[in-house]
Symmetry: C2
DNA sequence: AACATAATATACCAATTGGTATATTATTCG
DNA sequence: CGAATAATATACCAATTGGTATATTATGTT
């Protein structure tokens, strides 16, 4: 079982995460936090050292829950190239999913933390590398299983794919138009089919 | 000639624009503004109604100077398809250029203003539409001059191109790695060559 | 049930926030 | 040059900021 405090800590993080994600670090005040949680500053500062530590915890949680969902979705197939298609499939539903999180954490914190908070910004970079390495790994595994053309540069191709994905995420959220994500995923599927597929 | 006040107004906008662009609306305080300009609040509020009006003026200026540079660069050729190549060429140097502006205004304000300031956010959407329409127009003109395949959906293709461009801008700024922009522009050139070019 | 401790609330802090009314200084033009 | 006005500085405002010390309440253990 969890102690009272552990549950409170979790509750604070989950309540506050979409607020930080939406508004950014600086624009989220402690009164926003106390108002949303219904707790007082005493409770917040009893569970977190300061605002920054809470923001990092909230962002970490959001990213983890996002990565978990991608990983889950990939596990629907064991074939590397099919996993790539499942990733594009995942992002087809990303507008709805990320709205629940308060937006895409990678995009929002990448822009917001750049000149505000180096701890958060470093974690964004780390997360992007993780996502890209996962993509590159799938391509390499596809090559080994002779599903994917052997001459493909997996790191370069992974960068290319994630660049398109994050561009589509920005456009869909900013233009409030899901078609950017859908069309980009169509484009990515075509690329996988014609450029990667053996 | 310009009056003293007009020059001061311009001076404030130009000094403050990269600060708003870097930090976002909420994280830029009036003391940041007075410190950077060396002026007092009296001078600032003599030239602008409030912080929001100044932020909008600053963002507008930054966007206009960016759009002017793209337009200038396009004028190096009169051929629509060559203008498309010149656009990708422009974005090859965009990391340096946008760093002078304090980052890409479309990207930064698109993320920052979304939940903070609807005036700014609407202007971001308007700007993106403008850029996209320009791209679509070039494609249409290319079709008329029989430089570009007639069956291309110009609006869809313009969306596709700008999605990739803004994705590359985000990645280059966030990963602090210019290769994202360079590789995406290579990819775009290849697309123009193989998918658009007649 | 009583006690020790953990968790939360209260009340406060100095500093800063955006903004304004008024005083002072520059500028422009007759 | 001098007066009218435009532009900037000063001094202030209430509200809010992140944070803390202490008081109070809840929880778990014997």
């Amino acid at each position: 079982m969890y102690t009272k405090a552990e549950k409170t800590t979790e509750f604070i993080i989950e309540t506050v995460a979409p607020i930080f994600n939406k508004n950014g670090y600086a624009a989220t005040s402690l009164s926003d936090i106390t108002k949303a949680t219904g707790l007082t500053k005493g409770a917040i500062y009893g569970n977190f050292k300061n605002k920054e530590e809470l923001a990092v915890a909230a962002f970490t949680m959001t990213v983890k829950s996002m990565l978990r969902r991608i990983t889950e979705h990939q596990s629907l197939s064991s074939s590397p190239i099919q996993k790539l298609f499942l990733i594009s499939d995942f992002y087809r539903n990303y507008y709805n999913f990320s709205q629940e999180l308060g937006g895409c954490p990678v995009l929002n914190m990448g822009v917001d933390a750049k000149h505000q908070n180096s701890a958060l910004f470093n974690y964004v970079q780390y997360t992007i590398n993780k996502i890209q390495n996962n993509l590159a790994l799938l391509i390499d595994q596809g090559k080994e299983l002779q599903e994917i053309k052997p001459n493909i540069d997996s790191q370069l191709y992974a960068k290319r794919l994630y660049t398109m994905i994050i561009g589509a995420i920005f456009m869909t959220h900013t233009m409030e138009d899901n078609s950017y994500l859908l069309q980009t995923m169509d484009q990515i599927d075509t690329m996988i089919q014609s450029e990667l597929n053996l």
